[in-house]
Each structure stands twice: as C-alpha cells, then as structure tokens.
Symmetry: D2
Subunit: 343 residues, 4 copies
C-alpha cells in the first residue's frame, strides 16, 4: 500500500514518517511541502540516512495516480482548499487538520478561515477510531480528530453515553505540550518563555470546543455548552485532560471503572487504569495509547476523569495511521505497537 504525505515539514508530518517508516504494510511513496524541494533530512537531521526522500511540490493528479492513501498534515486552511482535488480519484484521504470537522458556519466562527466546500465536508467521516469504526471502514475521506478532543472525548464518552451525568456540568481543564502548537515560530513557544512556565490560553475560546460539543451531543442530545480551558505545559509531547462532571446518582469509583473497562474492552489503545492509579503523560509518550483514570468523590458527587495521550500520536499521526489501517482492512494495531518511551 503506497502512501503520500502533504505538509511533511510540520511535527505531524515528521511523526507520520516515524510511524510509516516502520509500518509493515504501508510504504512511503512521496512527501510534499509547499515550500522546499530538499531532502527531508536537511529539514529534520534525525532522519539522516533513514529517510532521505526529497520534498516535492504538491501535484494532486500525480499523487492520486501513484498513491493509495494521502495524509494531509497541513496547518488549518490548507486542506479546506486542497482536498477537493483528490476526491473521486480512487485515493483514501486522511486530513489531520481541523478543516473538515465542523459545519461551515461554525468553522468560520471558531477558526476565522474560509470553510471547505460543504459537499466535501459532508463526505468526511469523523475519525475518533474507538467510536466510529463502522463508518471509517468505508470512508473515502477522514476528518482526523484534534488532539484535545481525542483525549477529552475518550475520557467522557462512557458516562456521557450512559446518561450518568448532569448534562450542564462538564468542565474540561486541558494541558498540552508545546509541540501541539506546531512548528511555526511564536513567542509563547520559544524556549526562554515556555520553559519553567505554565500558561492558560484561549480560555473558553479554543477552536476545539465545538468539535468536542458536537460529538458529545451525538452521544447525548441534552449536553449543554462545556467550559474548556487549555494550558501550555513546558514539555514537548503529551496532553492531560482533567474533566469534571456532576454525577446524577451515587456511583463509586470502582463501579465506574467497571463501566469504562467494559466499554473499552475491545479497544487495544485505551488503557483503563486500576483504582487509585492515575496515568501521567510520560507513561504514553511515543505510543498510541490513551490512558484513563477515575475518581468519584462522595463528598461532592463529582467525577474527576484523567485522560492522557501523546498529542503527536493518538492526538494526530498515530490515530491517523490507526484509521488508515481500518480503511485498508488491516488490524488496527498494525505498525502501531510502540511501547511508551519511559523514562
């Protein structure tokens, strides 16, 4: 199976290369960038002698004729314009950007950019693998979930679906490593200002808010707007989402853990931790796991949900390959059995 990557020089692209180089069934056919025509190892010396392919201009016809799958690892605003040129050309498309996840109006409101053609958007299947496998199998086009939504949704799903919570009570306090901001230069992601620091940003205004709410509403139509805060951690990789919900009735931690274990029992990349064990972000670093820990507090009637992922893996490239595996009829773990790198 031949795959191409558009937007290879960002961190999502680099992580796709790390995965795909070791993938037993996929072969990297070509890598593309709008800017550079140099060997990728000039941009990323860690690939020197490993992947020395040259970055190529983006030629949709050529790519579609030579590859079976194309990954868009582009900044927002690019695939909204470009995916149309790959549709109906017998190529599977996986878009890691946020361009195809929201209805046009919402996209415009939260991303402040021109939305994709609604006909294209309509074809896009939301690629939250654990909850959408059936649709992914037959999809031509995948809107791969955002990093924050992946961790928040996997953590909230079981209690939201089961109707165990007050639908107006959801507070999501999320913390991400700096690589989530991408590779373009910015003051807040410079070392001297991010290091030994911790900051909140886009409070109640992050573009992942409607993406989370849209999926929650599919699980439970009574869900009200959520409170969502994003923070910047002084680490490179990893997201922890601490979610708070009010439980409808009395439920013990152990009872809820059973529900979670049951729910995710056939999902190889979700690890529900035992009682009194809470995952830390480093415990999933470099892997495709989402680890979840729970604590229900009898004093307050609230449930605290801790979910962690590597934002570049399960939050981006890892989940993209997981979806590609499913689209191609492979086992979903294929090429993704990375043991977390610890310490």
């Amino acid at each position: 199976m031949k795959v191409s990557i558009i937007g290879t020089t960002g961190y999502g692209g680099a992580e796709l290369l790390r995965i795909l180089h070791q993938h037993p069934e996929f072969q990297i056919q070509s890598i593309h960038s709008s800017k550079l025509e140099v060997p990728i190892s000039e941009e990323y010396p860690h690939l020197y002698g490993v992947i020395d392919k040259e970055l190529q201009k983006i030629d949709p016809d050529k790519i579609a004729s030579e590859s079976d799958i194309v990954f868009f690892a582009t900044p927002s605003g690019i695939s909204a314009k470009l995916t149309g040129e790959f549709i109906n050309k017998n190529i599977r498309i996986i878009d890691l950007s946020g361009d195809l996840r929201l209805p046009a109006e919402q996209y415009n409101e939260w991303y402040k950019k021109e939305p994709a053609d609604p006909q294209i958007k309509e074809k896009a299947v939301y690629g939250l693998t654990e909850w959408n496998r059936e649709a992914i199998i037959n999809a031509e086009l995948i809107a791969n979930p955002g990093c924050y939504p992946t961790s928040a949704l996997l953590g909230l799903a079981p209690v939201v679906k089961a109707g165990l919570i007050d639908p107006s009570s959801i507070v999501v306090d999320a913390k991400s490593g700096v690589s989530g901001a991408g590779r373009s230069l910015a003051r807040t992601s410079s070392f001297s200002e991010a290091n030994e620091n911790f900051r909140a940003y886009k409070i109640n205004q992050h573009q992942h808010t409607p993406e989370i709410e849209q999926q929650l509403l599919q699980w439970n139509k009574d869900i009200e707007p959520i409170t969502f805060t994003t923070h910047l951690l002084p680490i490179t990789r990893g997201i922890m989402t601490t979610s708070y919900v009010k439980l409808n009735g009395k439920h013990t931690t152990s009872e809820l853990l059973e529900l979670y274990k049951e729910t995710y029992s056939r999902n190889p990349f979700v690890r529900v931790r035992p009682e009194n064990s809470y995952p830390s972000v480093k415990e999933v670093a470099g892997s495709n796991y989402c680890d979840i820990g729970l604590h229900a507090d009898p004093r307050t009637g609230r449930l605290t949900i801790i979910s962690v992922i590597d934002n570049l893996m399960k939050g981006a490239a890892g989940q993209a390959v997981q979806n590609a595996n499913i689209m191609c009829g492979l086992e979903e773990e294929t090429g993704l059995n990375f043991v977390p790198m610890y310490p």
Copy 2:
C-alpha cells in the same frame, strides 16, 4: 529585629534566607536544623560567601532569649510538637507548616499525624495576609497558609464574599512545581520521572482541601465541599490555580474585574490583570506577587479564575515575611520588593 529559622535545610528555609539576607530591618540571628551542625553553605553552596552561618541544634530557650521572631520551616508534624516551647516567651512565631491551620480532628484525618495541643492551635492566627491583617498585627503565633490555599483563596475570595456564585459549584484545578514537594527524595520528584511529565496526585484527597474550605466558609457559610485536584508541573517553582465557579446571575468579565481591582486596590502583592490578559507562573517567579486573570463565559454562565504565585514566595517564605513585617509594625512590602525574574 533578630530572627531565627528552625528547619533551615528545606526549600522554605533556603528561601527565607534569600529574603532575610536582603531585608533592611530583620537580621538573621541563628539557623537551626535537627540533623546537621555544619555551615549552611555546605548544604547549599549557592550561599557560599553570602551566608556562612553554622546550623545549630534546636534549643527553644536560647532561641527565644536571643530572637524577636522565629520561623518554623519544618515538615508537617514538627511544629505541632515544638511551638509550645516558644509560647509565652515574648517571641513572635510564624509556622510555615500545616500543623496549626486545622482543628485537631481534621488535622488528624487529612495529615494522618498527631495534632498540636488545642490551646496552642487556638492562639494561631491564619496568615492569609490580604484578608487577615487586623488579627495578624497583634498575633503571637501565625499559621502561615499553604501554597495551594493561598493561590486558590486569593482567586476565589471576591466572588465568594460577594455571594455571586452557586456555593456548590467550586472546582479547583491546581498545578504546582516540584519544589512544593520539599527537599526529601522521592521517586515522583526525581528528575527522570518528573521531567517531560505531568501527573495528577492525591485527587480529592489533598490535605489542603479542608484548609481552603474552612476559609471559604468564613466568607460564605453556604459553601459546599469543593472538588480539588493537584497536579505536578515539570518546573521548579510556581503554582497556577484554575478555579471554576457557576455565577448566580449574568456578570461580564469586565464587571468582575472591576470588583477584583476594587477589592485588592490597597494590596500591593495582588495584581489583577486587564481583560484578555492571563498571568503565567513565570511572570511572578521569585517575587511575592499573586497575579489574577478572569474570564466569564456567557455560553455557560461559569467564571474561570486563573491565579498564580511562586509557591516558595507568596506560597511560603514571602508571605511569612509579609506577616512578620505586619507583626513588627513595618510596611508590609519591606524587603519584599523582588521584581519577578523573567525570563
């Protein structure tokens, strides 16, 4: 004015030395430790040539006869036993540990240690400076607040006191640097396991929970138990507390910022940020400031409060000296005008 420190080799003690060495009115009389009788610069080489005093055994009578003020920067469980020996000896006592902040039963429940004699505890004035100046002026004994409670309480106080929030809605999501765990060695505070990591701990079980609730109840007797999560940041110093409350009515961010500015107008160490500006932990590093930012979300009716401090300064040694200044009739900023160290 002569001051002594008991428990000098921990980080709180070291920070007291940094402040007191530069303080224009206080003079370090003696420093004490239960273990070592060596120059402090052997334990802390950064003090070499600056403070070369020798650590001494703890002799209450001698200390009380030679000093005007004594700071306890000891681990929990020590000052519960020791402060009694300093009472009624014409010496002011400031206890940085948690031993004198809670009623005996609660202390025992949350700290799992033997509480102080209730008569001693009764003399202790809670040293949250901004809200307790009157009592501090005449106190003989100060229970200096915990680091998490300081940041949470300063952030919550104005809306809680004003009765603007649903008293059952408080969720406090707190993140602290590793120095908050003290200087004793532990796996979770070793570099290889804390670095590039982020973990939640003591979920709903942190010993600072009752300390926060006790003070909130003094401001508003309807406050219900809070949800409180603590996380370990891969930084040395700094706490950010992100607090969530449900507003009773409609209030804009700008209106609430006015309330906060008004409330803290005569408090030199609380900086209320302008709208759309949220403090980061590094912006108070090394200083005694508590910076606060707010966002009221019309979509949800919730207020998000960001408050940051340096846990070793406003969260420990800085606030202790601020209280000592007040007890001695000095301006409360005396010796505390540290500009944050940035970057």
Copy 3:
C-alpha cells in the same frame, strides 16, 4: 530465542523491555529483581497492559535452563558476583554493568568494589560492536560498554587508529542526561536540583576513564592518559561527547570526514554527518544511532569531534541487543530499527 533480564527495575532493564517486546526473534522469558515480586507494571505503569509479567527472584539454574540469553542490567558490584553461576551452562550472558570491563586491580581502584573472579573476567568480550564483531560472534559472555566510553570511543577511533593525532593531546568533555545516573534516588538527580541546572562531577575521576583508555591503547599503544570531564545535563536521555585532539599534520575537515565515512561505511548505527552539520542529542533519542560530526580548525591544528548517543540505547540496552543479535547469528539491526523520536 528466549531471553531473561536480571535487574529489570532500573532504567536499563526498562529499556531492554521496550526493545525486546518489539523484537521479532527474541521472546521475554522471565524478568528478575532482587527486591520485588510484583507485576512489572506496578513498578512501571507505562507497561500496563503491554508487559504484565511478574518480577521473580533470581534463580540461576532455573534461568539458565529456560533461557538462551540473559541480560544483567544490575548496578555495579552485582554481576561480578553473579555471572559465575551462569558460566558453562549453555547460556549467553550480556552484562550491562561495568563489572567485567576492567582488570581486577583497576576495577577495584576506580569502582571501589570487589572485582569479579579473574577467570570470569577473562572470558568477557568487550562489546563495542562496531569494533569487535568477530569476537562477539563466538562469545559466551559480553562486557557491554559504558555509555560514555561508547560515545567517546566511536568518535575517537578513526583518527586514533590511523595515527593522525598527538597521543598526549586527548581531552574528552562529556555531557549526559540524568537517566545515566540510574533509578536510585539522589539529591543531584532530584528534579528541583537538576532542572535548570548543569554541573560537572567526578572531574578526572570518573570510573569510565580507564575503560576508554584501555580501548584506545589497543588501537594505538602510544596513547597517554586522557583528560575526562563528565557533566550532568538537565535532560532525561542522551549523551554528547565533545572530544579535542591535536592533529599530527594538516588535515581538512572534509578529508577527515571521508576517513570516518569510509571507516563506518558498513556500520548501520553510526551516522557520519556532512560538513558543517553537527548532531544534537535529540536527533538520536530513542534510537540506537551514534551520530558524529567533525571540525578541524586550521587556526589551532586541533580536531573537534562531536558524538551523540541515547545513553539508554546505544549506550546500554540498544547495544546489548545489537550484541545479542550478533551472538545469535541475526542481522545486527534486528528489532533495533527505531527512528529517533523528534521532536
């Protein structure tokens, strides 16, 4: 091929598990520790659901009868005593500790510990793979090189062997991440004291000094004692060794790079960088590569050699598996094709 690990709870052991779990030819038979009899995932939650084997006591006969290869990932002083019990039992032994690398007297002088039985030591083949393949193929017992020696020796070998340098001129300035100090707790490897810090330690007294000199002398009998400084970097993984040598004659960087490329042409894990490109430690993180960059300065006649490795991979577990592959007649890259994790 069945493998066992003794000393599994240290970082070297954890890294062996990460590699071996994904190795296509080796199967983890049993894991051992002197202390604990619990599932390894209690000690290392990142392995939860991946490797749930229980740690076992060390029973040499049982291990030798069930496994084909045993790795010692123990602190110094252990394998000196234990390896004897595995000799002549038809099991291949790879010792990651420093116990079998030096003659008895030198070991005692630099390690301050009881040396191994000289007969055992004599059987041990020094496992610097790139330079000792012939001997490794038939070895029963491998003394796997130290992390600093691996990076220093691979960087120095070509010019030392070729006799291009003044044999009295070698200065090795090495910098290592904190994981190199192992998992036992220590003040200097606590987060608050290692973070935002950089320190030199064991100046001219590091136990890897004689290991480096011993190998250099095999390549060039005129080599004189080296100057060797080790420093602690505030990172978890990675070593950079900056070595300085005086060139005998005039040699350009480009000429020397040719020599290095030629020397390492059939060595898949040594990447010699192009002129003006110098490797950084993150560019090999998580991989088995040793990357080398050179600069010959016409102003001074000195050559500066930069060599980087991941101390837990090429500096420990990776090289150990590379040696195990060779001992078993496998391609040496088997199970080791990790792409560096960047960023």
Copy 4:
C-alpha cells in the same frame, strides 16, 4: 543618578530593568525601543504594576540631556552606528553589545557587520570589571564584555597572567542557556527543538573567540589561538565554561586554588570554591557572581577550570551595572546584592 536604556525589549534590557528598579542610587529615566511605543508591561507582563513606563523612540539629544548614564542593550550592529551621537554630550555610555569590543577588521570578519567608527571604538574601555577597574573609573564609554568571554576570562586569568600554562594548550568548552541567543525567534531556540536537547554550534567560529584571545594576549603575549566550542543548554539562564590548559610544571589543585583566592580576594563577585567543590550554574542564578572550581590532574598535567555565571547578570546586565557603579564612584556591589535563587 538618572539612567536610560536603549533596546529595552530584549532580555538584556529586561534584566537591566529588574536590577535598576531595585537600585538605591540609579533611577530609570526613560526606556527606548526602535519599534514599539507601548507600556513595557504589554511586552513584559511580569512588570505589570511594577514598571509601567512607556517605550519611547530613540532621540539621542533628549536622552543625553535628561540622563547621566545610557545603557545600550541592542543587538549587534546598532550601537556601532548610534553611540557616536552620544559621545561628548556629558553622558556615560555602557554598550552591552559586541560592537565596540574588537578592532574594525576583526569585528567585520567575525560579526559580518559594518564596524563602528575607529575613533569611537578607541574611546571604549573593555569592561571586564575585575581586571580593568582603573580604566573604568574614568571611562566615558564602556564596551561591556560578552557572556562567554566573561566566564572564560575570569576562569583563565590567574594561571595565564602567572605564566603557569603552555600558551598553545587552551581549550574552552562552553555551554550556555537559551536566553543567550536573545529574544528574536529562531528554530533552534524554539521550545520543542531546544528542550530535551543539547547541541554544539558555531564550532571554532563563534564571534566571542577574538574577544577572549585579545584579552588573554594582554595578560600573556605568547598565548596562541584557542579552541572554542559553544553549546546550547536546555535551560533559560546560565553559562558554564569548562577550560582545559596544560600546566608548565607540577602544581597541585590546592596550590592553584590559593593563587585564585589570593587573586580575587578583593573582588566581591568572584567566589573561588574549596577543593573538591565545583560550582553548578543554578548556584549563581539571578545573581552577579562568577563561581570558579579547579582540578589539576597529576596523571595528565592538565588543569580543568570550571567557571559559571548567570549570562544575563554577570554576563550582561549585572556587569553593566557593576561598571556603572564604578563610573559613578559608588561601591561596586550597590544594588547588586542578589542572593542566587535556588532551587
């Protein structure tokens, strides 16, 4: 005494503000920038409520008429052009950039920029305080030393001046925190690429090389070109310079430490450490100290010199204020008694 700062928005400027705000004799008159006319606290929120002065355009006549001292904290290439407009206007000038440290030809060769008017350059006194006090007292214009040269020169001076070393043997292996690269954005100083990383750069080509050699030659005219490597540490502040020299005769560490202590006995900001104690960079963080440790190795006849500074303090703003104090007849410690911030 009134002082102004030109180039206030860089890290050197921010550090000058931190020092000057607390300085008992200097008062900040005005702050200048080529770009912005906003309150400095918009650019640096840590100064909110502390220094709210507005950034002003650079008007040399106005500045010279209102201030007694002006600091240039500008990137290289600016003060070469601007200082001329302040000469002969009865204002003392301290230039933190590299523009006035080298003869025109060398400046052009190493900085690749237009040098200053040689007549201006001639007036500039090199501000390595500990070695140039006499000239500084009467100077109109100070070329404040670079960060690397400050740490390297203070470490090498005693043995170089005393003629105890082989003049062709100097190797300087230097490591700096990221703030040394300034505040402008760059890939290598972005968090995701500098964090958990360590890289060498400008090997044998750093522009501080001729600055170091020029001063060494003033102490000892036989000194030959040095080998100089600079590395980027994943910390914000701090430089460690590890220097290697061949001793002419046999000298013990203790003997050499005596020489150093004697040499620096009346220098309050140089701390020579006791035998077997080596300074780490965090032990001087936020302070104006340069700490030095030594080890003479009888095996090799080489001396290893460890010297550490905070690059923004003794390596920039701290030394600048130290020089300003001397120029104004104040005690050189005035306003500089910062205790290192540890941990």
